[in-house]
Symmetry: C2
């Protein structure tokens, strides 16, 4: 898969630039959207590139042994409870996805709670609970709008949470590989089902701690520079979180030239799965919109494994977490949205979906000066 | 109408804040979107406020006597040609509007070219050209997507372009009043037809010059601070444009306490109409998403006429024009999108439509901690 990830197509990008110059607007007047549309032409290898619709969000959920170090006031059980909330359509990411017409898939790659079903049993349980209209409805339906979709669950648990990275490696290399493969398989499945843009989502109480550690490891930044307040922790817990990140870096001395080793030492199962999801999208030349700090930490791992994968990445938004800005700069990506969001789930990336689609739509639908009979300067 | 514009409803805002605290997400984790949704509850006077759908874009078009001063390399005829492009669905704003499901209405408040029909004849001509399927199609249909709507034209020409503000007042007070009323009438019409969010658009070759002058007049800023390169002018024209703005300010010494006088001295017909459009939306307590520098210069006039109208304003984006940032700061508004756009037409504001809708949707659809069975920290 990684060998199949190749550079952007220069000829398609040149064709997109030339087309932009003929469209009825001043040159360059769409700012960052012109550059984005040119890049997506390069990714697709044609101009105009396909419209990035429909969009598919995949929320990768996992738990973290480092939770025991007191890095967050939220109990670990919330990860599984929020998976249930995603499946019943009641979370913010569901509301945003309904707004933009995106599907939502939840992937259990490492939740501690078995959610009442064993690994592999999730889809079966959903089927068992199909009700009179034949639609799988594993949790009560929300009181939501007409546009609501029924999110599906992919049961792909690699293990029930990671180990505590301050004491030992969070994962084995085999577990990292399994999570990478799980993420890639989800990308392939969604593209095979028709998705033309993929959107990263995540859920995992304590998962900003491994994200910060990954960002420090891949960018060489200090723990204090990349560690944020996650859900909004107080000064006491923040100092503890920075110390935990620093300890993990000192214990493992992760080598950025060995991305699987970095993920094993200080990563999370959802981080590894998102890296695989990005690589899967890139290998199919489908754009992947990155959400916040979890996604961009995973994107650093993906870029270390396959540098050309960056061509498929679209930074959906700038998370309020400081590590996100460090990671985006390292990747050379400018975010589309910057509204102080720090929720995760994929929320920031989903908001960017119509912007990405609009950028591509220009190349499909806007009239040229000649065709519209508009004079040039 | 202005007397009917009142402050935001504090009780509804408090209810929205209290609801946010119960929803399944960390407090404050939606950043600027939480503040926006609270403000829209205050505007509507209820929590949750109505979903801001459907959206209606109104593009106000006009020409400018100051064009004779060489502030832009684009010929004046482009204003009318772009009106035709909007009506045939071939401009960028049309593509973006199709993406977000917004309707597009074009309003001729002051185009020099009579577009082949006299004032008031636009709608009639469209009818005459209705073709076999009975749909008004005043210009050839674009090769566009299924979601395409047929934009309508409102013929409300106050006069064929303004006078050259470096030599005399651009407009009479009566002409300003007529344009304000035309804008308000369009707002009322769109709301009566079902729109639940209004979006400002504009077209007018040379119209960033009066916009910069209006911003200087209302904020007390220097000409060089608020004048930008518009469509992308060179250093020679830029120096000329700053000098023109400075001359207009010196000739008229506009008094910001007399907003109609300011609009008459240095404004444009589309600027005045957009001010009326904003006031019309505010009086109906419907949010108005502001586009770029033309819109925010008009918003300063609207705020001077009715300070509480600011409660209905949503800054859709930050234009690359420096005056836009000065005006937004004066209004106390933070933009939702900041992507270096400088096209006008309503393009930046249209991109913000799904973000505004998403912010409100949270209050309608997201589960509470209790209902979802999610533990709190």
């Amino acid at each position: 898969m990684i060998d199949g990830i190749s550079p952007l197509d220069e000829a398609a990008m040149e064709a997109a630039r030339a087309l932009h110059a003929r469209l009825t607007k001043p040159a360059g007047s769409l700012g960052a959207l012109e550059e984005l549309s040119v890049r997506l032409a390069g990714l697709a290898g044609e101009c105009p590139p396909p419209l990035p619709e429909p969009a598919a969000v995949a929320i990768f959920a996992g738990d973290h042994g480092v939770h025991a170090q007191g890095v967050t006031p939220w109990p670990q059980e919330v990860t599984g409870q929020m998976v249930a909330n995603f499946l019943s359509g009641g979370a913010v990411v569901n509301a945003f996805a309904r707004q933009v017409g995106a599907s939502v898939t939840v992937v259990d790659v490492g939740v501690v709670d078995d959610l009442g079903w064993g690994a592999g049993a999730g889809d079966r349980r959903a089927e068992e609970r199909s009700d009179e209209d034949g639609v799988s409805r594993p949790f009560p339906a929300p009181s939501a709008s007409a546009g609501e979709q029924r999110p599906g669950l992919v049961a792909a648990k690699v293990r029930a949470g990671t180990r505590d990275m301050t004491a030992q490696a969070a994962l084995t290399r085999e577990e990292v590989s399994a999570a990478l493969e799980a993420g890639a398989r989800v990308a392939f499945k969604l593209v095979d089902e028709g998705a033309r843009v993929l959107v990263t989502g995540d859920m995992g109480i304590a998962n900003t701690t491994p994200a910060a550690t990954l960002i420090a490891a891949f960018t060489g930044s200090d723990a204090a520079t990349v560690t944020g307040r996650g859900t909004g922790i107080d000064d006491y817990r923040y100092a503890r979180k920075v110390a935990v990140v620093r300890t993990a870096l000192e214990v493992h001395k992760p080598d950025p030239a060995d991305p699987v080793g970095v993920l094993a030492a200080v990563g999370g199962l959802e981080h590894a799965a998102i890296a695989g999801f990005i690589l899967g999208g890139a290998s199919r030349r489908v754009p992947v919109i990155l959400d916040g700090v979890i996604a961009v930490s995973a994107a650093l791992a993906a870029a270390a494994l396959a540098p050309d994968a960056v061509g498929a990445m679209v930074a959906g938004h700038r998370s309020a977490e400081p590590g996100a800005t460090v990671a985006l700069a390292h990747l050379g990506l400018e975010p589309l949205i910057d509204l102080g969001l720090r929720l995760g789930e994929g929320t920031g990336a989903v908001l960017a979906v119509p912007i990405v689609a609009s950028a591509v739509r220009v190349l499909h639908e806007v009239a040229t000066f000649d065709a519209a009979g508009v004079s040039e300067k």
